[in-house]
């Protein structure tokens, strides 16, 4: 809150200056006015708004703490490792199911090709069953489209993580330097049969049967 007394003093000083003859206002008069304004401003800041300042400082600390906590979660790792891996796995699912479906359909067509070589009743059964196989194979198109939607969602998440990394700036580097060692230690002490399993590998990364045979046979 402003002090009314200061306001009155300032108003009086300004009035005095206005009443003086033009050209007779001295530097002392101006410095008095400026001093009054500065005094009023100082009192303004030091007084009632102190609590607001405290709250702002508290809020700033809270934001800093939150930033540190988010940085400790290592969003850079999510972007560099987890998201690309998830997208690659999904792409692989689409490619493998498409390949398998094409082979199923080619084989079904081959079966349908011999329908004429069997008796009518058997031909009918083969035809019906083949049609059902064809219809069922449409799952590949639908699952493919669904997976593509998930990949798009992952890309969107990646963009958001990018923004987060940018907002956190140097904060992440602190944890980047500190955490790899901790993670490595954990890996060494926690090796289990289960932790060694990684499931199917991405094509290109996986070892071929030939390579495995070479390894086994020396």
């Amino acid at each position: 809150m402003s002090d009314p007394k200061n306001g009155e003093d300032l108003a009086r000083q300004l009035l005095d200056i206005q009443r003086k003859e033009p050209g007779s206002v001295g530097i002392e008069d101006v410095s008095l006015v400026v001093a009054s304004i500065m005094d009023a401003a100082r009192k303004e800041l030091a007084g009632a708004d102190k609590s607001v300042l405290q709250e702002i400082l508290g809020l700033s600390d809270y934001i800093d703490g939150t930033k540190r906590e988010i940085a400790a979660l290592r969003p850079d790792e999510v972007k560099s490792q987890h998201l690309p891996t998830a997208a690659d796995e999904l792409d692989e699912i689409v490619a493998e199911t498409a390949d398998a479906t094409n082979r199923i359909m080619d084989a079904t067509e081959a079966i349908m090709g011999v329908m004429g070589d069997v008796d009518e009743k058997s031909g009918e059964i083969i035809g019906d069953a083949s049609n059902k196989i064809f219809e069922a194979c449409s799952f590949q198109d639908i699952t493919g489209q669904r997976v593509t939607k998930v990949v798009k969602a992952l890309k969107e998440i990646e963009n958001k993580v990018d923004s987060l990394i940018e907002a956190l700036g140097d904060e992440i580097a602190t944890f980047k330097d500190a955490q790899p060692e901790i993670a490595a230690e954990q890996c060494v002490s926690e090796i289990t049969d289960e932790s060694l399993l990684e499931g199917p590998q991405l094509s290109g990364e996986a070892m071929s049967q030939d390579e495995i045979d070479k390894l086994l046979n020396g």
Partner: protein, 120 residues
């Protein structure tokens, strides 16, 4: 009768071809709207089974281009898609689709829809 099957999925084209051939149609295939438009510019098929989501040119863009061609209102167009939102269906009908089949589809629904547009 000739039916143009437009879908970027080889699997769906094979399924549709198999079903439609049994119903007596001669089949022409296209992988996207642009290819389909080229086929139509040569000669219009009686029926078009059309997917929505395709690369290069999608189904709705193709349909609008088809209907804008002289004589392009002749083919019966049956949309065959996973897009089941009411707005999508409305958009497709406004663009000139005659029928709408949801994927996955079977022989029964295919026959029913083709009958409804007078192709069977």
């Amino acid at each position: 009768m000739r039916c143009l099957v437009v879908d970027d999925s080889k699997v769906i084209r094979m399924i549709a071809r198999n079903m439609l051939q049994e119903l007596g149609f001669d089949i022409v295939e296209a992988e996207n709207g642009q290819e389909a438009l080229a086929v139509c510019k040569q000669s219009f098929p009686e029926a078009i089974l059309l997917d929505w989501n395709m690369p290069v040119m999608d189904g709705i863009e193709f349909l609008r281009a088809l209907r804008a061609l002289p004589g392009g209102d002749a083919p019966k167009v049956v949309f065959c898609t996973t897009e089941n939102d009411l707005n999508n269906i409305r958009t497709a009908l406004e663009a000139g689709a005659n029928e709408y089949i949801m994927k996955p589809f079977d022989n029964e629904i295919m026959q029913a829809k083709l009958s409804q547009v007078g192709l069977l």
